[in-house]
């Protein structure tokens, strides 16, 4: 261990969360989501929380008409958008990974610094705004930045 300096995914996660099964959670597949679109996922979530899409769109810091197009399925979200919505929903890491899977985006990968910040913040329920501040302080691209 001492002469092996390279940080493996496992070690990194242990350092961050001291949680044995996080890697399994990161990889988890929920059968129920194989059949649905991202738009359905969003609508179902709002229905189950009795929340109107506007609130979620606002919390996710998304442009209103773009947000509605996501709900109607007219637009497909970018990966950052999915993550912004995950924060807005108060999702944990497993749910965020599920959302990425439903939207067919790359999962969060803990050897990437930016993803690790996001994992850490989701796990510790840090708000979207604070997460953006951390990303910015660390010199990392913010969520929904200029690529959007």
């Amino acid at each position: 261990m001492a002469e092996e300096k390279k940080i493996s995914t496992d070690e990194l996660l242990r350092l961050l969360f001291q949680e044995r099964s996080l890697e399994q959670i990161l990889q988890r597949t929920e059968s129920a989501y194989l059949h649905i679109t991202f738009a359905d996922y969003l609508s179902n979530w709002c229905k189950s929380r009795e929340e109107v899409p506007e609130q979620l769109i606002r919390r996710a810091n998304l442009e209103k008409s773009y947000g509605h197009q996501l709900f109607s399925g007219k637009r497909k979200p970018s990966r950052d958008t999915v993550l912004q919505l995950a924060f807005a929903m108060g999702a944990d890491v497993a749910s965020a990974q599920e959302m990425l899977k439903v939207a067919r985006k790359s999962l969060l990968y803990p050897r990437i610094k930016r993803d690790t910040v996001i994992i850490y913040c989701l796990h510790n329920r840090v708000s979207l705004v604070d997460t953006e501040i951390i990303l910015q302080d660390l010199g990392l691209p913010i969520l929904g930045g200029r690529d959007q």
Binding site: K5, K6, I7, L12, L15, L16, R20, S21, Q24, R28, T29, E30, S31, L34, H35, I36, D40, R79, K105, S106, L107, Y109, R111, I112, K113, R114, D115, T116, V117, Y120, C121, N124, V126, D130, I133, I134, D137, L138, L140, P141, R146, D147
Partner: protein, 534 residues
């Protein structure tokens, strides 16, 4: 300040990153597109310009003598990603290439119904790229040609990506004794049958063309395709490299010919040809359809009116003739009893007690629907399901409350990820062992009496065992080692202790009166016991 603490924590974890310093200084890693066996592919963003790029990073412990990215450094072709930079340290080698904007052919072909002309055009563009690679000195063999590695740009041009498997494996191994490439697309000699050369790529191209035309990478004699296309595919994929085309340019000209419909025809046979053509057209019109690039398929004649109704519902076409192209657009179908539904959500709401037994007897009609991805049926009598066998795109299958001829045909749907075979009267589902992507397997309420009748499914994560009568589940950790959730409601499995050996088990679903026993079994573990009646 809390945020500062988080920042420090993350900084300290990444202080000793294994990626080359200059690499991290130049680029932000945005996403991990793939990672396996010491190889990672990242989507990057250049810090100063915001330009996107793709990096392949190799762990030096796994690839101690990777020769580096010189491979395409001097090749400049719009169909190939430009080499931008390489970075290395003692731990990693990172090769950065241009990011090609567009959609992978794997998605593109599924979304658009490609015509023969479009397929031959795509194929000849790929041949152009291969010609550049193969005529390089020394020749570059791509070795991993597959739809995922072909990007279709918004303007319709194509590019071939994912190069770094090329050539260096050969130098590493000294002989072609390694398996590389993607199973299904790799030719026999790549498994060690002979020296690899340019024809290796032509073989994979042939398989790719077959997939574009039939939806399956395997040769399927039941699917009839354009005869000239068939000949091209056959010659590309001949077992012996000697029988294959010699170079990509030959394939290109054959594809151009097939696409143009032009072919030198001897004068004598013109008359016979015209007569045959007329006859075909008459037959086509009589049947109320026209012939597309697929050879005539009996579209007008559905054997099962209920399947025709389900097809028409999906297509939004209540009446009128349906062409083979129309049928290619059917991706999903839901039938419960005598009713058809547009969406899965409606299907899943149906209750068996509220439906009469449906009239379906055979699924042979499905052979006309090669692009079907989701197929669900509930509440039928005895149904011959052999029509499922040739569905190369089928990913989700649900058969509930019916009797079926056996699970064998389902095993041939090799892309299956989700299989629910609930109350189907089955006493053996081992045929599904040949579905390598299976993640969800629900075999509730069947006549399965032992694990042996369920079989070995190394990829299954979610397992449904409701309503089963079995003595025990001993050996389940060997047969289904990746299982994460198990449903057990109403099952009468006398001894559940085998479940405790499942290394990835996260949750068990039970009904209230099973709870106590299961909780006792898993006391002191992290496994969640969840109560549900359904």
């Amino acid at each position: 300040m809390e945020l500062k603490r988080i920042e420090e924590n993350i900084q300290s974890v990444f202080a000793d990153s294994s990626y080359p310093r200059e690499f991290l200084d130049e680029y932000d890693q945005m996403e991990c597109l793939a990672s396996h066996n010491g190889q990672e592919t990242f989507l990057l963003r250049k810090k100063d310009t915001g330009e996107r790029a793709v990096a392949k990073c190799y762990d030096r412990r796994v690839f101690p003598s990777h020769p580096g990215p010189d491979l395409l450094a001097d090749v400049d072709h719009p169909g190939l990603p430009r080499l931008m930079a390489q970075y290395q340290n003692e731990k990693m080698l990172c090769i950065v290439r241009e990011y090609i904007e567009g959609e992978p052919l794997s998605d593109y072909a599924r979304e658009k119904q490609l015509t023969l002309l479009q397929i031959t055009d795509l194929g000849s563009r790929l041949c152009d790229i291969l010609t550049v690679l193969h005529s390089h000195e020394p020749p570059i063999i791509h070795r991993d040609i597959k739809p995922e590695n072909v990007i279709v740009r918004p303007d319709g041009s194509v590019a071939l990506i994912d190069f770094d498997i090329s050539r260096f494996f050969k130098e590493e191994a000294g002989a072609d004794t390694y398996f590389y490439g993607t199973r299904g697309y790799a030719p026999p000699e790549q498994y060690g049958f002979g020296q690899t050369d340019c024809r290796t790529d032509l073989y994979a191209l042939g398989v790719l063309l077959r997939w574009l035309v039939t939806g399956s990478v395997r040769n399927n004699p039941n699917v009839q395709i354009d005869r000239r296309m068939q000949r091209i595919i056959d010659r590309c994929t001949a077992f012996s490299p000697e029988e294959r085309y010699e170079n990509a340019a030959q394939v290109r000209s054959a594809l151009r010919e097939a696409g143009s419909g032009k072919k030198p025809v001897p004068v004598k046979s013109l008359l016979a040809l015209t007569a045959a053509l007329l006859a075909t057209l008459c037959l086509g019109f009589a049947a109320g359809r026209y012939t597309g690039w697929l050879r005539p398929v009996p579209t007008a004649a559905f054997m099962e009116p209920l399947i025709e109704r389900a097809v028409r519902l999906q297509l939004g076409r209540e009446s009128g003739p349906l062409s083979p192209e129309d049928l290619l657009q059917v991706r999903e179908m839901y039938i419960y009893g005598g009713e058809v539904y547009k969406e899965f959500a409606q299907f899943s709401e149906q209750r068996v007690e509220l439906h009469e037994e449906g009239p379906l007897r055979t699924l042979d009609d499905l052979q006309m629907l090669p692009n079907l991805q989701k197929f669900c049926i509930g509440r039928q009598g005895y149904v011959d399901v052999s029509g499922i066998a040739n569905l190369g795109h089928l990913e989700s299958l649900e058969l509930k409350h019916m009797r079926i001829s056996g699970a064998q045909p389902i095993g041939h749907a090799s892309r299956l990820k989700y299989a629910c075979l609930f109350d189907c009267g089955l006493s053996d589902v081992t045929a599904l062992e040949s579905c390598p992507w299976l993640e969800v397997l629900d075999v509730g309420l069947n006549n399965l009496q032992s694990l042996r009748q369920i079989g070995t499914h190394p990829s299954v994560r979610n397992l449904g065992l409701t309503w089963l009568k079995m003595n025990d589940v001993a050996g389940i950790a060997d047969a289904l080692p990746r299982v994460e959730t198990v449903t057990l409601q109403h099952s009468q499995i006398r001894n559940l202790s085998g479940l405790t050996a499942l290394p990835h088990l996260e949750a068990i679903y039970v009904q209230a009166d099973q709870e106590e026993a299961v909780r006792e079994l898993f006391s002191g573990t992290n496994v969640n016991i969840l109560i549900t009646e359904n």
